[in-house]
Amino acid sequence: MAHIGSFALLLALGLSSYCFLAGLASFFLRDDLGERIGESSRRAGIAAFFAVTVGALTLVTAAFSNNFAIEYVREHSNIALPLPYKFAVLWSGQEGSLLFWAWILSTYALVLRLRHRTDIRLFAHASVILAAVQTFFFLIVVFAAPPFAVASGPMVADGNGLNPLLQYPEMVAHPPMLYLGYVGFTVPFAFALGALIMRYPGEKWIHITRRWTMVTWCFLSIGVSLGAHWAYNVLGWGGYWGWDPVENASILPWFTGTAFLHSVMMQEKRGMLKIWNVWLIFSTFLLSILGTFLTRSGVVSSVHAFAQSSIGTWFVIFMAVILTVCLFFFVKNRSHLQSEHKLESLVSRESSFLFNNLLFVALCFTVLWGTLFPVLSDWIQGHKVTVGPPFFNKVAVPSTMLLLMLTALGPLLPWRSASLDAVKRNFLWPSVGALLVAVVLVIGGVRPWQDQSYFYALMTWALATLVTLTVAFEFVRGGRVIASKTGQNMLAAMVQLTRRNTRRYGGYIVHFGIALLLIGVAGAAFNQEKEQEMGNGDHMQIGTYDVVCRSYTQDDNPNYASESAILDVYQNGKQIDTLYPARLVFKASNQPNTRPYLHSTLKEDLYSVYEGQNEQTGKPILKIHVNPLVNWIWIGVIIVILGTVLAMIPNALPVRVAVAAAVEAVPVGAGD
């Protein structure tokens, strides 16, 4: 089996190398020969997908058939591992996850190569660039981190098992989603670089690039959110985001990708920021590779990181080559990216996009700076320092606040120039609403002068209200127009409005989702936690809850042994729930693991963790957190995803509204 897998990967390497070299040659050869070689390059690229699929399937099959002769399977699987997690074996270790990366990249490349008729020359250039990236990853899985290496030493009866932290349903979905996001940024990068190399005439490439970026951004958003949800439900420290270097690495391309999705509109509508957009896409791709490098090289210490290995050097060389190629073609063809930069007003949609981009890039820089500062400190001072949550929670706040403010204001500003009267008119009631919410919260007990975190929370809630109300007003305003012209009810009119311009109104829904998400994040300022030894019948008072330890229970299955606390939860003297926080010990790896248990409401989560026993007293230790508003984060994420999917759906035909005056009929709901 190892031979089949190894041969498949070697074949994939050969095919992708041919795809790259033949594709490159086809650009320099005369027409008919060039065309034929170009077509053979495309077909080789398609064949590479099938070869790497065989490789990936072979590894999964080896995991399912408990083939412990393969080192990777021995290290990451065992006989008792539940079947769904056997799939997760593919991405749970260094070698397998690189193979998985190569497979996803080849799948994206397959789609691109099958759709080559959209624009044969542009797609041919993109295909060659993708083939270069594919070749790099195939080189790694063939030479530097082979997943089919045969295990040394005597045969073993069972493997070491999958990392216990990964044995959770979300872990079957989180890495694939994250990888679809990371890897997907290669496609916009290939189009951007291809268009620059060939001095592509017109703006079609930017439309194609935007669409691919949206798909990829959506996957990355899902991946990052699933990771946060998994951390919250599995790691048991009561939070969802720990500013770990690997978490940071996943958010870096998200920031620049989000900046691009905004600034691309400047290029589409006004022909501006062409150079900036190209570099945003280049940076997004490079940041996704940098993230991979950080995760796999051991440069920064992280709980998520794979074992330290030599493949970091491969990634450094790859990034250097990519950056050199980008710089070379940028310098050579930058005249092609010249655009007319002329603004008519300081208060306009264009200005808001410029500031929006600045804030996203500043956030990206801040997170990258904090992530790499330990390395910098090591170089300069000779010792590492830790840059953990206290740093990020403090320095990321100003940019986030400003961004939230722009999220409310930006969509209200028209292109070119805004009349202050119109801005005031649109902004007045949402501002009054936000102010009202702030006043109600202060009356309700939020004291911003007592603690900086309370102040930030209050500001976030007020600004999130502002965003929500401006979005709502936009829907109502547009819906009212359609309702008055078509006689539909308001709800149907708003649906109609959204269908007429899915990108604009999908974007508003995404903004609403982000507002909800930040409302949930701000709730962390009011987190409470308590740790206590609890015997049977002991009480713990936290917030409005009275937690009573009923008893403890044990369980055993082939995969793990578990010990759970049974906690009755009372509120106002009435029992509302029973919690079962557990401690598991996985047999194959002999690794202990906690499993928190939650009583979750829209208002707050009661989050219980069974921490084990006090060695001196023999009494079990329980930690209970009260985390306000966490569910709004997950609701916000779902709305963001729905909005993004909506924005990707093509528009329905606009409603033509006949008007009596000399002004021509205006399509309702059209334009951004």
């Binding site: 720990g242 002329k342 200005s351 500043a362 801040t366 400190s377 320092v385």
Partner: protein
């Protein structure tokens, strides 16, 4: 006698209040300082958030923190003691002295510089001369533009 009893009660109440206050302060300081320290078991987690079953470090470190607070050590003394014992990586964030200051200042400097640059860029682009138009076509600006916008708005309500 009555006065003495009253005074004893007053002192007792005062002592109890001070003890409770100090206790509460101690608990708050434990939480604050515990969130400024990292667990050194290699988990890369904040000391008070380290939840590894059987962690060999966190219990001992928490006890040391409690002892420092109970001794009445100042925050900086407690932190210094941890740095001396576990090295500079025990602090969860860079200090605001020496090279650590660079870590804190740089993001703000970059943000402010960025805002200034974008503002300057916006102004420069706004002040650029009008492009020449063929056939005497004049771009609509200012009051004319507002007038047409208002007309579109009133006639379409958008």
């Amino acid at each position: 006698m009555k006065t003495t009893l009253k005074r004893v009660v007053q002192i007792a109440v005062l002592s109890l209040s001070v003890a409770l206050l100090l206790g509460a302060q101690g608990d708050a300081r434990f939480q604050t300082l515990g969130h400024r320290l990292m667990c050194k078991c290699g988990c890369n987690q904040i000391l008070l958030e380290c939840n590894h079953v059987g962690c060999t470090m966190s219990d001992g470190m928490r006890n040391e923190l409690s002892a420092g607070i109970e001794r009445g050590d100042s925050d900086s003394l407690v932190m210094q003691a941890f740095v001396q014992k576990y090295g500079p990586t025990v602090e969860a964030a860079p200090t605001s002295e020496g090279f650590g200051k660079v870590a804190w200042i740089t993001p703000y400097v970059v943000l402010i510089l960025g805002i200034v640059m974008v503002w300057a860029l916006v102004r420069a682009w706004r002040n650029r001369p009008e492009p020449a138009f063929a056939d005497g076509v004049r771009p609509i600006r200012g009051a004319d533009l507002d007038h047409f916008r208002e007309q579109v708005r009133s006639e379409t309500e958008l």
